[in-house]
């Protein structure tokens, strides 16, 4: 007869995916109940530690644990690719943004430089500290990117968490200081992109996951290529850019290159870069939200035609590309093992 404790353990084990429960549930229940007196089992409950262990196993078995069936392996691979691509994009965006700001401020005379420095020093020490943190912490996306590709997962997690922190300030700052509230939709979209990247990196690149690798090129070269594309997109259209312009342009170039990459079409469903379409589709959706949120509040503000045209054009291409990636990703997900 099933005891109450056994029923409780089985309820906790329902967190595991069906394939894993079929293979392991009875065995795990036996391990849990091994040395427990049957007469006292109705007074016991699974401990929080045991529940936490099952939750961790449930997450891991859903994102490509060893021996996971096709849909779970694919989702795991997609989550790992999403983390890698999102970290790469944010690393390049942070680098380019700061290099361009420094270049601009240091080559336009003393007044421009003073204006740049006053951003850190002109509003008191606490505001200055926040500004310095806002300026420097996103550079840690680069640390997270290289750490991830060198299979240093814990440093990558820590660096990405620290790099994402500044995205919370626009949301929390007005609550604890006299800073002006930001445009809420854009601040939320930025925070969502940053923290979903951290979540994917932390969950999908678990200890047993295969090491991260790029579809092509070396880590330094790929980051440099992203920086060049972003930097060029800003330099070529200096009057038509906002904070979403460079990352979205880089994503469009990268996603188009990925779609036309011959090795992608040649690779089967179990290839090392399976799940790439799903990962890019998810990233595309987040960037589309960022793109729309960046321009929509200013639609009636008399923006220059080149700016509005660029933003609308980007949004249109991004929608088309993301829809294509969604279709490809969906096909990959529903494809049966052959």
């Amino acid at each position: 007869m099933t005891t109450l404790l056994e029923a409780r353990y089985r309820a906790v084990l329902r967190l595991l995916p069906p394939y894993y429960r079929r293979a392991r549930e009875d065995e795990m229940v036996e391990t849990y109940l091994w040395d427990l007196d049957r007469d006292t089992q109705d007074q016991s409950r699974p401990t929080w530690g045991e529940v936490a262990g099952v939750v961790a196993l449930a997450v891991r078995s859903r994102v490509g644990a060893p021996g996971a069936p096709h849909p779970y392996a694919l989702l795991g691979s997609a989550a790992r690719h999403f983390a890698l691509f999102a970290v790469l994009l944010q690393a390049a965006a942070a680098l380019v943004d700061r290099v361009l700001a420094l270049t601009w401020s240091s080559t336009r005379g003393a007044a421009e430089w003073r204006l740049f420095v006053s951003g850190f020093t002109g509003h008191g020490p606490s505001s200055g500290a926040v500004e310095v943190a806002q300026w420097t912490l996103p550079l840690l996306w680069t640390v997270a990117y290289f750490a991830l590709l060198r299979d240093r997962r814990r440093p990558a997690r820590v660096a990405s968490c620290l790099a994402a922190l500044p995205t919370l300030w626009p949301l929390l700052g007005p609550l604890v200081s006299d800073s002006l509230p930001p445009e809420p939709a854009f601040a939320t979209a930025s925070a969502l992109l940053a923290w979903l990247s951290v979540l994917a990196l932390s969950v999908a690149h678990h200890r047993d996951a295969p090491p991260a690798s790029l579809p092509a090129g070396t880590p330094g070269l790929v980051l440099l290529a992203c920086c060049v594309v972003m930097g060029a997109s800003v330099v070529l259209l200096p009057d038509g850019v906002d904070s979403a312009w460079a990352p979205v342009t880089c994503f469009l170039v990268g996603a188009l290159a990925w779609l036309m990459w011959p090795a992608r079409r040649a690779s089967g469903p179990e290839a090392g870069h399976a799940g790439g379409a799903l990962a890019l589709a998810a990233l595309g959706l987040l960037l589309l939200a960022l793109r729309v949120c960046a321009v929509y509040p200013w639609r009636d503000a008399g923006l220059p035609a080149v700016f509005l045209g660029g933003a609308v054009g980007q949004a249109a291409v991004l929608t088309l590309l993301t829809a294509t990636l969604c279709v490809l990703g969906g096909r990959e997900l529903t494809r049966r093992d052959t």
Partner: protein, 126 residues
């Protein structure tokens, strides 16, 4: 190799064991320092099975409950031996360095002085 994987392989080195047997053996081998949760244990068993370091030895049904026994494979024994060798080499190097450090500090101490063993008048050790 993670600490948990090392201790699970060590627990299986002498005979096949089932889940609960592995948990108890790991706790005993590590003097209670490593207490694996059941969820963690099965994550480790999945990894080791995928890496072909352990295999299912047999299944038993006792009082209507499934009990699976695992054993090391040849590759598992070799991986464990290599890891044990690596750890022993590291431990040996650490012991040699500590001994050298102690000899060096004793050699630098002026003749006739002894290390302080009790607090001085001011309550310090100097």
């Amino acid at each position: 190799m993670t600490q948990a994987a090392f201790f699970v392989l060590t627990a299986l080195a002498d005979q096949p064991r089932h889940g609960y047997g592995i948990l108890r053996e790991v706790e005993e081998l590590s003097d209670g320092a490593v207490q694996l949760r059941v969820g963690t244990l099965y994550g480790v068993l999945d990894r080791l099975t995928a890496d072909e370091l352990i295999v299912l030895d047999r299944e038993e049904v006792q009082q209507g409950r499934l009990r699976r026994y695992y054993r090391l494979t040849e590759e598992g024994t070799e991986a464990l031996a290599a890891e044990a060798e690596r750890m022993a080499a590291g431990a040996g190097a650490a012991k040699r360095r500590i001994a050298e450090g102690r000899r060096a500090s004793e050699g630098n101490r002026p003749a006739g002085t002894v290390p302080p063993t009790a607090p001085g008048l001011a309550g310090g050790l100097a």
